[in-house]
Symmetry: C2
């Protein structure tokens, strides 16, 4: 079995749970059908298995090195990325007008995800380039686009995002990098950027940094931040590579996981001018940067999910082939051992992984479908509805998988026992790689504040109403099937509890108290959304069963069991969390720094 | 502040929460008092800080290597262990008659723990030696003891435990290592042992392996396992080192964490005879090996706990010194940033760590006190009661910290953000080190089966009754304080729910169904026990407050807040878990291996 993708499940999610067929009917995607989508995924799977997966462990153990101001990286990385470029896959996320494939986002995301599972840290080079390119396309001038975009779309030059600085991580308001306007309209960029993934390497002729900086005299805080394009090498008017743009690699960060992605400290304008070009309007940098934020955050959620999937598939395969012990009721030591997939607790750990990973996967693909809906629907109302749902669900898409698919990775290690704790097996690497996802693209806490402090009340609660309408639709569909009746009831009750919790929170005397337990709300609401996703899958499974294809018997009954598992083992956990959030408990909020240890 | 121990809290736990003063009154420990205990802990802390802690990160990044059949390890390890030996600390866990210090176990464990936090993987060499020595002392012949024990007690020779084999991890019943009796009464050992921590190195003149093997013709399964002492180098009659005993180092395992502890694949009797000596009776190997099992398992729990503590202290110190962002209600970007310890979610993450780590710490010290009680009480009844409580609580001592103090380590990383994800800071190492503790000394699942399948019903439920009596005593003491009233009620209800759950489980049609959710029961019962530990601490804090020492104001109010936190944020989680276990849910148990992915 493939340990990077379960194509049967991916098809189930795309076509049976979510309605990719309907999207493929639309004008925007009219060049694609089930067959061509399958061909693209086939190609991706075989490239990922043949070229990306084999050196993932080797790369992890031979991370990029800082040598004489440059990055040394094992050659397999460039070879894999070149193969990706040569297959034209860099263009999978762009529209035709940019020179892209104009795939549905759900397909683009799914093909990308296959590579993430195969070799997570290599794929950052791709996604950062795609993110920077899309941002340039959305906000850049025609001149800038003409000069940089074709190379980036083709995957010949890579891109990065330079937001953080050593003293300003979550608090972008406090960045210090300066951009001083020159006579020719360009800017001199000076300052230090931290945590720059893919920030430097020698694999491409150029690296195009999208940099946040402040123009002297601009307002304090986030209202005075502008966005600049700053290339590693200057580009001549004929498009050829010119002089160095004096961006010094000051050092590499050595991470617990994601080791194959260089993570850099970059000094701009230290040893000479670093020339930057304004992207979008002055002082609109943050909103321009956030232009692609939903996509980026959903992509982080997808990454988390499929790293969870990698652990699930690997540990499942292991459990079905590792003999150890006997059934509890068998006391005969001379009888043969059974496979560990026969042991109740191994089943529980596999089921937990399945429920978390496939639940999250369904959500991410749903979010991708919303992006497609927004891009392709002819109805303004539908586009607005998709936007609202996306805004509301983005914090959950980003955060829930980073918490629960990491938990899945923990269980994958446990199934392999001591072997799982060694670097000879990939599951500990997945666990290390996935730990990053709580931290970047907005920390867990920031998404908690976002959802409870902003999103649930957005547009007078219209986003939450739109979600409730969607959930009700699923409950209505599920109600037709008696075996799903108790789930319908539980999901309805959980949705109601969200409302009650929000009413209690709205009575808080001040915002600090209202938001004191926002992270817990984020996790709990995530559980309700994933429960909804499981009910959607259960409806699809029942409908699938009705078709009577015996090859699918185990697949569909497994889906129904996982749904039941989520409702019985997981959803109740959300209930006590909502109670807590609604109680406006201030036990943590009132702690002074001294009380933690007594001085 | 020290980032490896909070001495104020250790004193609080030893003297105010648990009754070390009373133990020190006893004959067995009459050489010790508060002052001498403090002196030993002072010495340990300064050695740990000065000698062990400084190279912990360096060791992690320069793990032992296999070179020409031998282990190469950085010299700091031997230097630190030599300092430990020279300070006489190897002897802290032994009685006077063995040449030891006859410290209360709770003190021995506490001093050991300080070194664990400082440099986890170095301490394995010490603890494995102590475990092997105690086992030899308990079961070995006088001749064997005379020949090996003095060197081991002094820390000149090290020891190991050789249980697992490549095909037999959790299922010791299936080991294949053979022990064939020779004319002189010794045995020829042949076979392969896997996962042998501290299994080989060049740091000592000899390594004394305690090996499980089967004598040909003995019964199948665990009833045919015997225990042998097998030295790396043979020992001449005069005690000098003789020939090699032909134990070949076949390879090192490369682990995610605990990298400084060599972890070996050893081949016995491959290139020549590996001579072993029977320890205890033939076919009694497993019970002899289990002789020190409670101590070893409590020690694993202690290790987990204080690795959690290391992350807590480090992230607390960081949070109090890292400026980032402003209070939610402050919209002025020109106002100075606040320390992140001011942010609600950072407080929640600190509080969660505090509640988990200090709750677990209290439990581990309580268990150590039970060991001391068993060793020192003049009343046979008291000794029996201590034994029963220890048997019941050991699975929780071993497992709860490995789950929840790992979670604490996860939060420590989160508080440091991107920095926490890099190897420049110790918190990611703690997270990797701590992940081991679910796996060794019995997996999480095995302890679940142990507690639900055996311990709660042990001696007709006498252990559980003894626990209930202890809990009732704490509730009675707490009832005197109105601020603790709701906690008393919640704890009483939770204890009752354990009973109700067990009644439901006893009605299961077969053991597989009864134990299907045993791991979940283990976690939930652990939460109740930790809630009890927090109530004990709260009572002690209220009593401490009454003394009116203003230097302790923040310390005690922090304790009461952490207790409240545990009852409001954590204990409710146990409730839904008990409901689930009591419902005899078979969703996971009924899964077939095919249903997980559909084929």
């Amino acid at each position: 079995m493939s340990t990077i993708v379960n194509r049967r499940d991916l098809d189930f999610l795309m076509y049976e749970t979510h309605n990719l067929d309907e999207l493929l009917e639309r004008e925007r995607y009219s060049d694609y059908d089930r067959e061509s989508v399958a061909a693209i995924l086939d190609l991706s799977q075989s490239m990922a298995q043949d070229i990306f997966q084999p050196f993932a462990g080797h790369l992890d153990q031979n991370e990029p090195k800082y040598v004489d101001g440059k990055v040394e990286i094992i050659p397999e990385v460039k070879e894999a990325l070149t193969a990706y470029k040569d297959a034209g896959l860099f263009a999978s996320g762009y529209d035709y007008e940019m020179g892209g494939m104009q795939l549905p986002w759900v397909v683009h995301q799914s093909l990308s995800a296959i590579f993430v599972t195969a070799n997570t840290s290599v794929t950052s080079y791709i996604f950062l380039t795609q993110g920077a390119t899309n941002m340039l396309n959305a906000c850049g001038s025609d001149d800038l686009k003409a000069k940089y975009m074709p190379k980036m779309v083709a995957g010949e030059w890579y891109g990065t995002m330079c937001l953080s600085e050593p003293q300003a991580g979550s608090s972008l308001s406090d960045i210090r990098t300066k951009a001083e306007k020159q006579d020719d309209g360009s800017y001199n960029i000076t300052g230090t950027k931290m945590w720059i993934s893919a920030g430097d390497h020698e694999m491409t002729d150029n690296i195009v940094h999208m940099v946040l900086a402040k123009i002297p005299g601009s307002p304090a805080g986030v209202k005075g931040i502008s966005l600049f394009l700053v290339p590693k090498h200057r580009v001549n008017d004929d498009g050829s590579i010119g002089d160095s743009n004096n961006i010094a690699l000051a050092g590499l960060n050595h991470k617990m996981g994601n080791k194959g992605t260089t993570n850099c400290l970059l000094n701009f304008g230290e040893s000479g001018d670093s020339i930057g070009y304004l992207v979008g309007d002055e002082n609109k940098g943050l909103s321009n940067m956030f232009h692609m934020m939903n996509e980026a955050r959903v992509a982080v959620g997808m990454g988390s999910t499929v790293v969870g999937l990698g652990g699930y598939l690997y540990s499942l395969d292991y459990a079905r082939n590792r003999p150890q012990g006997r059934h509890l009721t068998n006391k005969d030591p001379e009888s043969p051992m059974v496979m560990i997939s026969e042991h109740a607790d191994v089943k529980r750990m596999l089921m937990t992984q399945k429920a978390f990973v496939e639940g999250a996967h369904s959500l991410i693909l749903y979010a991708a479908c919303l992006l497609d809906e927004r891009a392709s629907s002819e109805s303004a109302e539908e586009r607005a509805r998709a936007s609202l749902l996306l805004e509301l669900l983005t914090p959950i898409c980003k955060s829930w998988p980073s918490e629960f698919c990491l938990e899945a990775n923990k269980l994958a290690i446990q199934i392999l026992g001591g072997y799982g704790y060694t670097r000879e097996y990939p599951v500990e690497r997945y666990y290390r790689d996935n730990r990053l996802n709580h931290i970047h693209e907005g920390t867990h806490a920031i998404h908690g504040l976002d959802i409870l402090g902003r999103k649930v009340n957005m547009a007078d609660g219209a986003a939450l109403k739109a979600l409730a309408a969607e959930v009700t639709q699923t409950i209505t569909a599920a109600s037709a099937h008696t075996e799903l009746a108790s789930h319908c009831q539980d999901l309805g009750a959980a949705m109601q509890q969200i409302q009650l919790t929000l009413e209690s929170v709205s009575k808080a005397s001040d915002p600090s108290l209202a938001l004191a337990n926002a992270t817990i709300f984020l996790d709990a609401m995530g559980h309700v959304v994933i429960a909804w996703m499981w009910l959607k899958q259960a409806v699809a499974a029942v409908q699938g069963q009705a078709k009577g294809n015996t090859a699918d018997t185990a697949f569909y009954s497994g889906k129904l069991a996982a749904c039941k598992f989520f409702y019985r083992y997981e959803l109740p956990k959300a209930i006590s969390k909502f109670d807590l959030v609604g109680s406006l408990d201030d036990t943590c909020l009132s702690m002074s720094a001294e009380e933690f240890i007594g001085h």
